[in-house]
């Protein structure tokens, strides 16, 4: 089990006080689970990643893996930007990476089952520069897994991947996490995928504001929510409140969200022809609803994420 206790980090400034990136963050991640760490830009995700991977030294608190320093554990790391050498083949990248971990790998030492599972068996002798982004991600994962890690940390691994490649990579990640009994920490902006993780930790301005199973985080929203698009959310909200104590959330600029309710319930006080209603739909609550409810803003997406979407 990964145990992060009360860690804090401040980046020093040339003048004046530094920037506090993390403030007393504690979280746990269990073996065989994929734990997502979500948060908007500047929330402290990258700092947490750097502390976990040893790029930054701990200033406060502790990080232990199976009750020992993570330095003594094998850590597999997948970075947001590729860390592959484009001039080498996929196999050469894997072999060189293994040597950094003190392992000498021959072709026969690489499990054929793992290569098949990752879908890169036929790409081993291809130069990385000739592989697609999705394949490069798979080679990165192979690199990380072949050092037999106990802890796998991934920083925005879906960046630059199309929807299908994301889905495929995420499924693969879940499978290998269970199969190899890994403690997997997934740092991501992609909330629909985070929702499907075993646990979600939400960071906001360096503070952990939630850490639980996704279903539990969404308990307060009820089984369904109603989303209404309106040009005048304030007036519509006031109108709805005249018909009882409504669990209302101003979701986005022109969107209201009603928690713990269904279309039938809302239709009794507001029909679809109402002049303030542009669109109305019932749906399941999402992690993004939770995020906005807790932080007051939508999760900021990296430019690549928007392009990929």
């Amino acid at each position: 089990m990964l145990l992060v206790q009360n860690i804090a980090h401040t980046y020093a400034a040339r003048r004046g006080a530094g920037t506090r990136a993390l403030r007393g963050v504690s979280l746990t991640a269990a073996q065989g689970d994929v734990t997502a760490v979500v948060g908007s830009n500047g929330s402290g995700k990258t700092t947490l990643f750097r502390l976990l991977t040893g790029v930054l030294a701990l200033q406060q608190g502790s990080i232990t893996m199976h009750n020992a320093s993570p330095r003594n554990a094998r850590i597999g790391v997948v970075f947001q930007s590729p860390s592959l050498d484009p001039h080498l083949t996929a196999f050469e990248n894997i072999r060189h990476h293994a040597m950094l971990y003190g392992l000498r790998l021959g072709r026969d030492d690489i499990s054929a089952a793992l290569l098949d599972r990752l879908g890169i068996a036929d790409a081993l002798d291809t130069r990385v520069s000739a592989l697609s982004g999705g394949f490069q991600r798979r080679v990165e994962l192979a690199k990380a897994l072949l050092t037999k890690p106990e802890l796998l940390v991934l920083d925005e691994p879906f960046t630059g991947l199309d929807v299908d490649a994301r889905e495929s990579f995420f499924s693969l990640l879940r499978e290998v996490t269970v199969e190899h009994r890994l403690v997997t920490l997934l740092i991501t902006h992609v909330l629909p995928l985070a929702t499907r993780c075993d646990r979600v930790a939400v960071l906001e301005q360096g503070t952990l504001i939630a850490d639980d199973a996704p279903a539990r985080l969404l308990e307060d929203f009820g089984p369904t929510v109603v989303e209404i698009t309106t040009p005048d959310p304030a007036t519509l909200a006031a109108h709805l409140r005249t018909h009882g104590d409504r669990d209302l959330l101003h979701l986005r600029e022109q969107t209201l969200l009603l928690r713990n309710t269904g279309l039938r319930d809302v239709a009794s006080i507001l029909d679809a022809d109402h002049p303030l209603v542009q669109d109305i739909q019932a749906r399941r609550p999402t992690l993004e609803d939770f995020f906005i409810a807790r932080t007051g803003h939508a999760i900021a997406r990296a430019e690549e994420e928007l392009l990929a979407a």
Binding site: T53, G54, V55, R71, I75, V77, F79, S81, P82, S83, L84, D85, P86, H87, L88, E92, H96, H97, M99, L100, Y101, G102, L103, R104, K143
Partner: protein, 254 residues
């Protein structure tokens, strides 16, 4: 051991693969000093006189040092590329010691420098220099140590740089004067007084002087005496140790 030797080997062999897979780099590395040597040797042939030697022969060890200087230092440019491509972050987060990054670069830069210098030696029969086995062994031992020192210098500059263009600019500003003022291009004795003082502040001056003396060791050519060999060795060792310690400091603290 597994966090030092194997990672060092891994990074060293990767650098060599890079070098060999970039044909233009290999051609340029061998072709450029050849062209410089031919043109300088032919151009100064009638106007140069030192110890009664032909300028082409006199310049030959200096060109070998030029090859080593450029090869060793420019091999470290890969640090900037590795940082940009994200490869370096994978190395830093691995259990490999930070010293292995320095050693791998030092060894790959030196290997490339020595390999290029040996290739240039193909031209030796055309110079009239009667190189002895002893002179060859000792001068190349010296060249190996000098290449290690020069790679360390390149390493420090590359580690703190964010662009390859900036690295090229700084290196050319530093390398060309280092070579010109090393005594490889013209004899020190003929230079003006202030120039001689400046040359003596250049570590390359001591390296060049010893390399030239060793290169012609046992041959019929008597090379002009420079600083005593023990002074050159001391300067080389001291500068190398200082550069290594500083390299270690920057990789551990950044």
């Amino acid at each position: 051991m597994s966090t030092m030797a194997l990672p060092t080997y891994s990074l060293w062999s990767r650098d060599l693969k890079h070098f060999l897979r970039q044909r233009s780099r290999v051609v340029g590395a061998v072709g450029q000093p050849f062209v410089i040597w031919i043109f300088l040797a032919a151009g100064f042939r009638g106007s140069f006189s030192a110890s009664g030697m032909d300028y082409g022969a006199w310049l030959f060890p200096g060109i070998i040092l030029l090859i080593a200087l450029f090869a060793a230092i420019f091999s470290t440019i890969s640090i900037i590329e590795d940082r940009k491509s994200g490869f370096l972050q994978g190395v830093i987060t691995s259990p490999a010691t930070r010293a292995s990054i320095i050693w791998s670069k030092m060894l790959s830069g030196t290997t490339i420098a020595i390999a290029q210098s040996l290739l240039f030696m193909i031209l030796l029969p055309f110079t009239g220099i009667g190189l002895t086995a002893e002179g060859f062994a000792l001068s190349f031992l010296m060249l190996t140590a000098a290449s290690m020192m020069l790679t360390l210098l390149g390493f420090i500059l590359a580690w703190n740089m964010s662009s390859t263009q900036g690295f090229h600019a700084i290196m050319n500003l530093l390398l060309i004067p280092m070579w010109l003022l090393s005594g490889a291009f013209f004899p020190t004795e003929g230079a003006s007084g202030w120039m001689q003082t400046v040359m003596m502040l250049n570590p390359m001056y001591y390296i060049t002087a010893l390399f030239q003396q060793l290169f012609f060791l046992g041959s019929t050519i008597t090379f002009p005496a420079g600083p005593a060999p023990w002074i050159s060795v001391t300067v080389l060792a001291a500068v190398s140790i200082l550069l290594y310690l500083y390299s270690l400091r920057i990789v551990r603290t950044s």
